[in-house]
Structures are given as structure tokens and as C-alpha cells.
């Protein structure tokens, strides 16, 4: 692998040299360029990106790919770099962006993207991708980006050994959750492991609680203005979340989500609510005794987020970008990318045998479940609304004031211009 990379580097250098000399002597270039902007710099995600590049090189050996990654958790630094480049009139050829409001409100409404309807029609993607995902990449009747994967955010992970030892079953409802939690607590095991150091994790748990209490239809309505944030069911969700947090490890604000997952792995913790990148993490750690279930109340609901790439206006290498997008949406590209990334295909026709047991179950659910957007991961609300939501939940976790939290959630919705 490393050897191949070294060879590639040598070839890239040669390519650049060739490019420079060719354009200098003959005035023509043999190599075309493609700059891909993302924040996939770590472990499996970087490998997945490389796998995509490999497929691209096979199809287009005459293109020189510039891998413009910016390190930083959840793209917090990359997004700032991207903003300055876009506003400075120097957009990357194509960039990673979460499907949904992050894409639409940040870039499409601002008039910085080109629609991709022709591409979707020519490739027939509107037939192989489910409606839920097509909805969140659409705006004003046009498609605006190509989804390369799907992550599920509403997964409850549990330690199988611990559950077997004490004869417990993964909870399907909140009542069962609290019963299981009490049973675990009585055995001196942390019932509910949480890491909240990075600030977004509690919001992640709470959006799953919202989906569980309100159900898919009403949950979706929260982000479109159809469901009111003053609804008594939101009050109930806040109370449920508050009670869940009483079962959490006392040091949660000192841990990131993977630190919490380590408690689960060591058998010191019972349950964890986190997205399905946890599956990739467990696999990387060689841990096999984990089980999964939809978070309480969300059987039949798939809280989704998706990484996508789009076509910014005013770029120089339009044809190489179209080739890239074509690869991203293709079966071949998604099968190369997703098993390494630990996510499932946005298409519904990928080869199941390439994926592990958890991912296969996610593929099944993806086809039959109600798909609703994640807010913490950019799908349901604009960045500023998502930030206000995350802040409110973080404050609520410490203060526990249900009425104040509900007022703040309503206020955030009004600030976003969705509620009145």
C-alpha cells in the first residue's frame, strides 16, 4: 500500500514536470487537473478516498488529482478554509459537503452551485437512490450534489457479553431503556456511556430522542415549521433526555465519543447512542462483541446524513469534475468507497457481500425505513440553526431547565426564519 503510494507520488511529480515542460515547449497540455476538497484525513476515511482516486485513475489516467484535504474534526477547520476560498473567488473544483441544509442554505441559496439534473437523468440515479436522499439534495426542483454514502445516526450500540451475562435485551422503547439501565446500574456498570467533550455529541443523542418521541413525520416537521417546538411532545423529549442523562457516566464532558465507546468495549459500560462510524471504529479496534438496535422508539426510522460532492460555479476543470461526480454516483465508485469508510451506499443496488454484518442490516433498513434528516450532521437545518440547537442541548444537560430549553429551541427556529 505504502509502496503504491510512493509510486503514485513519483508519478505525480513526473506528471507535473511533464505538464510544465509540455506547456512550456509545445503550448499544449496532456494532463488535465482535478482538485478534490475534503476533510477526510484520518484512518479509514482517507483510505476510502484513496480507493476512489484509484478508480478514477483507472478510468482517466490522463487526469492529475490534487487531494486538497484539510484536517480537523467534523470539518470545522475545512469549512472555514472553504468559505474563504469560495468568497475569494477561488473555489476548489469540487468539495465535500453534508447533504441537506448545510449544502442548500450555505451554498445553493447563495447561488454558488450549478444544478446537476442532466447528470442525474443521464445516469438514472433518480431510480436507484431512495426518495429520502433525493429530497435532501434537492432545492427548487433541481439536484445540487451527488451523495457518495449514507451514515445512520440513530443507532444504540451495546456490549453483547454484558447483555448476555445479565439476561438483558436491547431496549425498543424508552420504558425498556430505563428498565435495562436500572438493571445495569444495579450491577455497577455504567448504563449509558456518553462522551460530550466536542460539544455536538449531546445534540446527537437528543435528536435521536426527538425522533423517538415524535416519530418520523412530526420530527421532520420540526425542521420545516409544521411541528411546533412548543409542542408537549418536545417537552416530553426533553424530560426523557434529562432522565437518560442521569444514567450517564459522570465524566462524560472529559471524553470524546470514542472515549465513551472504549468504556463499552471494556465492558464497563452497557449502551451507547452514536452514529454508525462507531461500527468502523469497533472494527478497527478488533472488537466483535457489540450489538446494535435502532435508538428507542425509532424502529422503522432512519436518521440519515450523507457526504456529497457538488459542482461549484466558475471552476476551470468542468469536464474532469463531471467525470468525478459520475464515478461518485456509480455502483463501482460507491462499492470501492463505502466498505472502507464504514458507511453504506447511497444507491440501493450495491453488492451486499462487500459489507460487514452491521452495514448489511443498515442497507436493509435504508431500503424500507422512513428516512429523516440529522440536524447535528448538517442535513436538517442551516449551520447557524444547528449551532444554536447544539448549544441549547449542551446548556440543558447541565442546568436541566426544561421550560428554558424549550423556549430557546423555539427561539432558534424563529431566528432561522422557519418558525414565526
Amino acid at each position: 500500500m505504502a509502496r503504491m503510494r510512493a509510486v503514485r507520488i513519483v508519478f505525480s511529480v513526473l506528471a507535473v514536470a511533464l505538464l510544465v515542460s509540455a506547456s512550456a515547449s509545445a503550448g499544449t497540455t496532456q494532463f488535465r487537473k482535478l482538485e478534490v476538497f475534503s476533510w477526510w484525513t484520518a484512518g479509514g476515511e482517507a483510505e476510502a478516498l484513496t480507493a476512489l482516486f484509484d478508480e478514477y485513475y483507472k478510468l482517466h489516467p490522463d487526469v492529475w488529482i490534487v487531494n486538497a484535504t484539510v484536517a480537523g474534526g467534523a470539518g470545522s477547520v475545512a469549512k472555514a478554509v472553504l468559505v474563504s476560498r469560495m468568497l475569494g473567488g477561488d473555489p476548489p473544483d469540487t468539495f465535500q459537503v453534508h447533504a441537506g441544509r448545510e449544502l442548500i442554505d450555505t451554498w445553493v441559496v447563495a447561488g454558488k452551485m450549478e444544478p446537476l439534473d442532466d447528470l442525474f437523468k443521464a445516469e438514472g440515479w433518480d431510480k436507484v437512490m431512495p426518495g429520502g436522499i433525493l429530497d435532501i439534495i434537492s432545492y427548487n426542483g433541481h439536484y445540487w450534489s451527488v451523495p457518495v454514502n449514507i451514515h445512520r445516526s440513530n443507532v444504540l450500540w451495546y456490549n453483547k457479553k454484558v447483555f448476555q451475562t445479565y439476561g438483558l435485551k436491547p431496549p425498543r422503547t424508552f420504558d425498556e431503556f430505563f428498565q435495562v439501565a436500572d438493571a445495569l446500574k444495579a450491577r455497577g456498570i455504567i448504563p449509558f456511556v456518553v462522551g460530550s467533550k466536542d460539544g455536538w455529541e449531546l445534540g446527537h443523542v437528543f435528536e435521536d430522542v426527538l425522533a423517538g418521541v415524535l416519530g418520523p413525520e412530526a420530527y421532520r416537521g420540526l425542521w420545516t415549521g409544521k411541528t411546533r417546538w412548543t409542542d408537549p411532545r418536545v417537552t416530553q423529549a426533553l424530560q426523557t433526555f434529562k432522565r437518560m442523562m442521569t444514567y450517564a457516566n459522570s465524566d462524560h464532558s472529559a471524553l470524546t465519543w470514542d472515549g465513551a465507546a472504549a468504556y463499552l468495549m471494556e465492558g464497563k459500560g452497557g449502551m451507547l447512542i452514536m452514529g454508525d462510524w462507531t461500527d468502523g471504529w469497533f472494527t478497527a479496534k478488533g472488537f466483535k462483541d457489540y450489538g446494535w438496535a435502532p435508538t428507542p422508539g425509532t424502529a422503522g426510522t432512519f436518521v440519515a446524513l450523507s457526504d456529497t460532492f457538488g459542482l461549484p460555479k466558475g471552476i476551470k476543470n468542468r469536464d474532469t469534475v463531471m467525470d468525478w461526480l459520475r464515478l461518485l454516483g456509480s455502483k463501482r465508485g460507491q462499492e470501492a468507497f463505502n466498505p472502507k469508510k464504514g458507511s453504506i451506499c447511497a444507491r440501493t443496488d450495491c453488492d451486499r457481500s462487500l459489507f460487514n454484518e452491521y452495514l448489511r442490516s443498515a442497507m436493509d433498513d435504508w431500503q424500507k425505513d422512513e428516512i429523516v434528516p440529522s440536524v447535528i450532521h448538517g442535513a436538517a437545518a442551516s449551520e447557524s440553526w444547528a449551532t444554536a440547537f447544539k448549544d441549547t442541548v449542551a446548556l440543558f444537560a447541565a442546568r436541566g431547565d426544561v421550560a428554558a430549553a424549550q423556549r430557546a429551541l423555539q427561539q432558534a427556529c424563529e431566528d432561522a426564519g422557519v418558525c414565526r
Binding site: L87, A254, T387, D391, L395, F396
Partner: protein, 318 residues
């Protein structure tokens, strides 16, 4: 008439005009030398301050600039914002703990070292070393040391140490406890900077002539009285300087918090600079971020400007 001018007078005039020309040449050179940095500073510091101030008065949310006038609305909203109120309280607590910690520990270390102990150089280096470390490194290390652990998974770091030496009663949630979180962060900051205060005080102590102490001793003063009545008052300018330097560090602190705790549970360790970064670069709220930046600037100016005026006056007196 001209003939009657004596040669020495001509020489003097010539020398004077040459000297004058030299001063004006020096002047031109000085201006030429300073001009580029003056231009750069006025652009990259003052123009950007003005720009930030302007943005804080607009409605710019989202990535596309929106210069619609908002007046002071952003500031009103900001001061009503629960997170910002928490931040301001945190800043006050942080500054108090950090300054007190640095000054007390720094002074005590300096007094101890001033006793001409053997191996003074070594001690000086050991106490000063933390200052050479970046706040990011301090943050990561203290994050680990003050990580409380849980009863179910076992204690770690300082809690484990307290347990082992029989002081288990003193165990605490440290930065995970919303009531004291920010103090735990201030503790790490004080660890980093008290060596610096020690160095300042040590230099000051060495500058106080031995005769003064002798005279006080002859008058029958005890050692404690000597420190209270003679030495500490003489060290006042050093204390003031240290307060200024540490004070503006504590108002602007960002890297330590980012590396150690982030916002903490319910913003218990959040500070204005961290909020500014979060709201600007994660939330794309450029107007609110600019308003926080302006408030920060004003806070630092309130501390620094009187000090600048004071030092400029005392320099003029000299």
C-alpha cells in the same frame, strides 16, 4: 562685509548647516524605514479592527456577506445570550483565580529562591520551564491529569493520586463539575505562568539593596514586617506589570480551553474567544462573531490603555 567675516565664523556656520542637513537626512531615513511597517500595521491591524467593528453592525449571517445595517442589535442580542453571559462570568472567575494563583505562587517561589539556596540555577530553570511550553500542550496534559474518572471505571490522574495518599475526600469532578470547571482550567494556566511571575519578582527582589533590610532590622522589624512594609511596596511596579501581562492573557485565552475542555458541560469552561470561534467558523454567524471580537477588544483596552498612559507619562517625566 562678507570679507570681514572671520574664518572661524564661516566654519561654525558650515558645520551647523551640515549638522542640520544631517538631521533632516536622518529624519527622512527614519520615516522611510518606518513607513512600510506603519502602513502594514495600519492596514492589517487598524483597518481590520475597523472592518470587524463594521461587520458587527450588519446582519451578515451565512457565508455570503450581507451589509444590511443592524445597528446595535447584535450587541443587544449578544448580551442577552445565555452562553455569552456565562462566558463573561467565566472570564471574571478565570482572571481572579489565574492572577491570584500566579502572583501568590510566583512571589513565594521568588522569596524562597532569594534565600540563596544551593542549586538556584536548576530551580530557576525548573520553575520557568512551563512557560516554554505551549498552552495547547499544557491543555492536553492537564486534561489528562484532571480527568476525574468514574466510580464504575476507576479513578485516574490527580483523583487517583489523592485516593492513594489517603486524601480521597479531596477528590473532585474538576473540569467536569460545572460549579468549579473554569477554576480547574485556571489552575492549569496558573501552573504555566507562575514561573514567569517568579522570574519577574526574583529580579525585583535582587534589585532591592540589602541596606534597606539591614536598616529595617536595626529598627527592630521582624522578617514578616520587612516584607509587608518594605519589600512588597517596593515591588509594586512589578506587580502592576505582571497584572497587565497576565490580565490580557486571561481575557484572550483560547488555545488552553480549546485543547483542554472545549466549552465544557453547559458552557462551564467556555470563554468569549472560544465562543467567537465557534459562532463564526462553525455557525457562519459573522455578525455575532464580530460583535464578540469587538467586546473582547474593548475589555483588553480597558485593561491596557490606562497602563500605556501611565508608562508614557512616567517616561516623559524621565
Amino acid at each position: 562685509m562678507q570679507r570681514s567675516t572671520p574664518a572661524w565664523a564661516v566654519a561654525v556656520t558650515l558645520k551647523r548647516s551640515l549638522a542640520r542637513r544631517k538631521t533632516s537626512l536622518d529624519r527622512v531615513l527614519a520615516i522611510l524605514t518606518l513607513a512600510p511597517s506603519a502602513a502594514a500595521v495600519s492596514l492589517f491591524v487598524y483597518a481590520f479592527i475597523a472592518w470587524t467593528g463594521f461587520v458587527s453592525l450588519t446582519r451578515w449571517r451565512g457565508v455570503i456577506p450581507d451589509y444590511a445595517w443592524a445597528g446595535l442589535r447584535n450587541y443587544v442580542r449578544l448580551f442577552q445570550h445565555e452562553r455569552f453571559q456565562t462566558d463573561l462570568r467565566n472570564t471574571v472567575v478565570f482572571t481572579a483565580v489565574f492572577l491570584t494563583g500566579c502572583l501568590v505562587v510566583g512571589f513565594l517561589l521568588a522569596v524562597l529562591l532569594d534565600q540563596r539556596v544551593a542549586g538556584e540555577g536548576l530551580f530557576r530553570t525548573v520553575f520557568l520551564a512551563p512557560m516554554a511550553v505551549s498552552f495547547v500542550v499544557t491543555g492536553v496534559v492537564w486534561r489528562w491529569m484532571l480527568n476525574p474518572g468514574t466510580p464504575e471505571t476507576g479513578y485516574v490522574g490527580i483523583n487517583l493520586l489523592l485516593d492513594k495518599i489517603g486524601l480521597g475526600l479531596l477528590k473532585s469532578g474538576w473540569y467536569t463539575d460545572p460549579r468549579i470547571g473554569i477554576k480547574a482550567v485556571a489552575l492549569a494556566a496558573a501552573w504555566q505562568m507562575s514561573g514567569y511571575v517568579m522570574a519577574l519578582y526574583l529580579a525585583g527582589l535582587r534589585g532591592i539593596p540589602e541596606e534597606l533590610r539591614e536598616a529595617a532590622r536595626v529598627d527592630g522589624a521582624t522578617e514578616i514586617q520587612i516584607y509587608r512594609r518594605v519589600i512588597i511596596p517596593l515591588l509594586r511596579p512589578i506587580t502592576l506589570g505582571a497584572v497587565i501581562v497576565l490580565g490580557h492573557i486571561s481575557l484572550k485565552v483560547f488555545d488552553l480551553v480549546a485543547a483542554m475542555t472545549g466549552s465544557g458541560l453547559g458552557f462551564s469552561t467556555d470563554v468569549p474567544a472560544y465562543f467567537m470561534w465557534d459562532t463564526t467558523f462553525r455557525g457562519n454567524n459573522f455578525n455575532q462573531g464580530a460583535a464578540i471580537a469587538v467586546v473582547l477588544l474593548v475589555m483588553v483596552a480597558v485593561l491596557i490603555v490606562p497602563y500605556l498612559i501611565y508608562t508614557m507619562r512616567s517616561e516623559a517625566e524621565i
